[in-house]
């Protein structure tokens, strides 16, 4: 069981590199969708015993992170007449190097933070922090508003991984609130993207640079 879990966490870290290295927007959305689905299944692997609550959390997460949100993004991609490349500010090799440094940093931090031995262990914290950093990297180095939403999603995925450690002790209400807030945030961003597209007839945040000091 533990080796299986370790494998899943390593796979999640590898998916981060795919997100950083893909050039086509559709490809990145697909990887984020895979990551979301894997995340949704994790509660079933981690829980000491299967109960209705865990199944509901898993189902809700897979539906939201693996199906609904990627679907929304693909729809936005199709509606907007934008180019289908990611268009980073820095080159893909540089993104990957930064991603590797981030992962190294995540491993260092999780080594310093003591975790209770048990399901997940050190790798869970590493995977969580490295995914958060990947999301941050996508947010800051990609041009389009749509990729910034993707970055935000990846960042939220990283936080979700850490939340798995608290699946037992944290009350259900917080889980629901987290999913709800994520949904509302993405929804609002979707509306803003729609307005950006209408206002600028492009969706690149390059155009959003009129305000500065």
């Amino acid at each position: 069981m533990t080796t299986l879990l370790d494998g899943v966490f390593i796979a999640l870290i590898l998916l981060n590199f795919f997100i950083l290295g893909k050039a086509s927007l559709r490809g990145v959305i697909r990887v984020v969708c895979v990551q979301g689905t894997v995340l949704g299944l994790l509660p079933l692997l981690l829980g000491p015993h299967l109960d209705l609550r865990l199944v509901l959390v898993a189902l809700g997460t897979v539906a939201l992170k693996g199906v609904i949100l990627p679907r929304m993004l693909v729809r936005a991609l199709e509606e907007l007449s934008i180019r289908r490349e990611v268009e980073p500010y820095i080159s893909f090799p540089a993104s990957l190097v930064l991603g590797a440094l981030g992962t190294g940093f995540a491993m260092f931090v999780s080594y310093r933070l003591p975790v209770t031995p048990g399901p997940g262990g050190d790798l869970l914290t590493s995977a969580s922090i490295s995914t958060v950093l990947t999301g941050f990297l996508v947010l800051t180095t990609r041009r389009k508003a749509l990729t910034q939403v993707l970055g935000y999603l990846v960042l939220e995925n990283g936080i979700f991984i850490f939340g798995l450690l608290l699946l037992e002790p944290l009350p259900f209400l917080v889980e629901v609130a987290v999913l709800l807030d994520l949904f509302v945030a993405i929804f609002t961003m979707g509306i803003v993207i729609h307005h950006i597209n209408r206002e600028f007839s492009t969706e690149s945040t390059d155009r959003l640079t009129a305000l500065k000091d």
Binding site: R112, P114, T116, V132
Partner: protein, 479 residues
């Protein structure tokens, strides 16, 4: 009590959304504000015990912030009724509903005594605030809204990770996990130190983003620059105060766990850095609203600094929170009027504001002196307390650096504001944006706020002194 005070503005938000008349809808705002103020006074006089299983409680810190938010919102609500009359061409349905929702969620943030609920409420203020920034519906307000949403959402996401770390700090030690403020405090000395430190750092970054501490302040100049003045007033006086409140609660926890020195250091450095960044950017600022945003970054830095030092400086910071909130109300509302009258907000086009708009122009000028911490206004008294605390604790070089930076900010602010308010109005402007004059509704609320700022400079009322010393005692570990 908490249920009513949170539900009342939310219910009126629903009513505003359903209300069909664009002309009468803004009057729901004063109605909500007066009800909120009444309930706030009742709650402040007789603070009840925790409710809803300890999830809602008004602690002494919250009492101060709630009073500030309620008074500020009341002034902004009457102002809004006058302001929206000038903007009657524009649909104000979403704007009014979101203002009320914003009030409801801010109140919930203050009452919440559970780290998860606090986080949810703070996130909700972000979302309710976004349509306020987008009110003008042009490309620059859209850009500002986008930056505000993305930066705040990322910040708040990191605060969520911090909240999770906080929970794990007790899981790790095999303690019963609870995110209730009081439960965590009771277990504070037993919590896992590394997780607690990491949690504080993340909460500080997350809520510091909402508060607008540099370097996470980058949404502020854009959002304050493009949003209507009254939204700027509510953000800089209300939302940032709530974010600071959450940081103070985290600081209190770290103190109880014996990690006060670590938390204080982080706050101190971040605060000093914020004041320095504000000083650098305020120097050559021509846009009066963006300038106010940097002034807000500066004052948030001062608050963080005061909290980091503790003792008298912390008492000063609490008083400064109130003073800054009220003074920012004066400045943003009068800047809104000036913007309306001139159809511009940069000093190449705004000149002679005092002559053109005697009331708003003069109040703007007076507000500047208040926010630059000169006597006889409130911020002067609180800054003196903070500086006194800094020197008392032996941080001489910090005090010196702060004084130098404040001097730079004063120069920068003075240059812009004097350029905007003095002299004659430029030719041809009269025809460019006619018809705006100060009215009772857009003038009186600013006058009330200015009166309060002046009052706090001359004499701090007894009840406020009690509230502040209670809050300080609470921070120092009392109940």
């Amino acid at each position: 009590m908490p249920y009513f005070i949170i539900a009342w503005p939310a219910a009126l938000a629903g009513a505003a959304f359903a209300w069909s008349s664009n002309r009468t809808r803004p009057w729901l705002l004063p109605a909500a504000a007066l009800g909120h103020l009444l309930l706030t006074v009742l709650a402040a006089l007789r603070p009840g015990g925790p409710e809803f299983g300890g999830w809602l409680a008004l602690d002494p810190l919250g009492r101060v912030v709630l009073l500030l938010v309620s008074v500020l919102f009341a002034c902004c609500a009457f102002f809004a009724a006058g302001y929206l009359r000038f903007r009657s061409d524009r649909d104000n349905r979403v704007f009014c509903a979101c203002l009320l929702l914003f009030l409801s969620m801010t109140t919930l943030t203050i009452w919440a005594h559970h780290w998860g609920l606090m986080w949810v409420a703070m996130e909700a203020t972000t979302l309710a605030g976004a349509p306020l920034v987008y009110f003008n519906r042009n490309s620059s307000s859209l850009e500002a809204t986008w930056k505000y949403l993305v930066i705040s959402s990322v910040g708040i996401a990191l605060a969520l990770l911090g909240t999770f770390f906080l929970a794990y700090a007790s899981v790790r030690q095999g303690l019963p996990t609870s995110l209730l403020v009081e439960d965590l405090l009771a277990n504070a000395p037993l919590l896992s130190r590394p997780w607690l430190r990491a949690a504080f750092a993340l909460l500080l970054i997350g809520y510091g983003t909402k508060m607008g501490l540099a370097p996470m302040h980058t949404w502020k100049p854009d959002a304050y620059g493009e949003a209507p003045g009254l939204a700027g007033a509510l953000f800089s006086g209300g939302m940032t105060a709530c974010a600071f409140l959450l940081i103070l609660r985290a600081l209190r926890l770290l103190k109880a766990a014996g990690e006060g020195a670590f938390a204080g250091q982080l706050l101190l450095w971040l605060g000093l850095f914020s004041v320095a960044v504000a000083a650098a950017f305020v120097m050559r600022q021509k846009d009066i609203k963006r300038m106010l945003a940097y002034s807000s970054v500066e004052h948030m830095g001062i608050l963080a600094l005061g909290a980091g030092i503790g003792g008298t400086a912390l008492l000063g910071a609490l008083l400064h929170l109130v003073n800054n909130g009220l003074a920012k109300g004066v400045l943003f509302l009068s800047a809104g009027n000036i913007h309306r009258a001139f159809g511009a907000k940069t000093t190449d086009r705004v000149r002679g504001a005092v002559r053109r708009l005697p009331l708003s122009g003069s109040l703007f000028l007076a507000g500047l002196f208040a926010v630059a911490c000169t006597p006889p206004f409130g911020p002067f008294v609180s800054l003196l307390l903070i500086l006194g605390g800094i020197f008392e604790e032996g941080w001489h070089w910090v005090g010196g650096a702060l004084l130098f930076l404040l001097f730079l900010v004063f120069m920068g602010l003075g240059r812009t504001v004097l350029a905007a308010s003095q002299g004659a109005a430029p030719d041809g402007e009269e025809t460019a944006a006619p018809a705006y004059r100060d009215t009772l509704l857009t003038g009186a609320p600013i006058l009330v706020l200015m009166g309060l700022v002046l009052l706090l400079g001359l004499h701090i009322p007894d009840f406020l002194q009690v509230f502040l010393s209670d809050a300080l005692q609470y921070m120092e570990g009392g109940r």
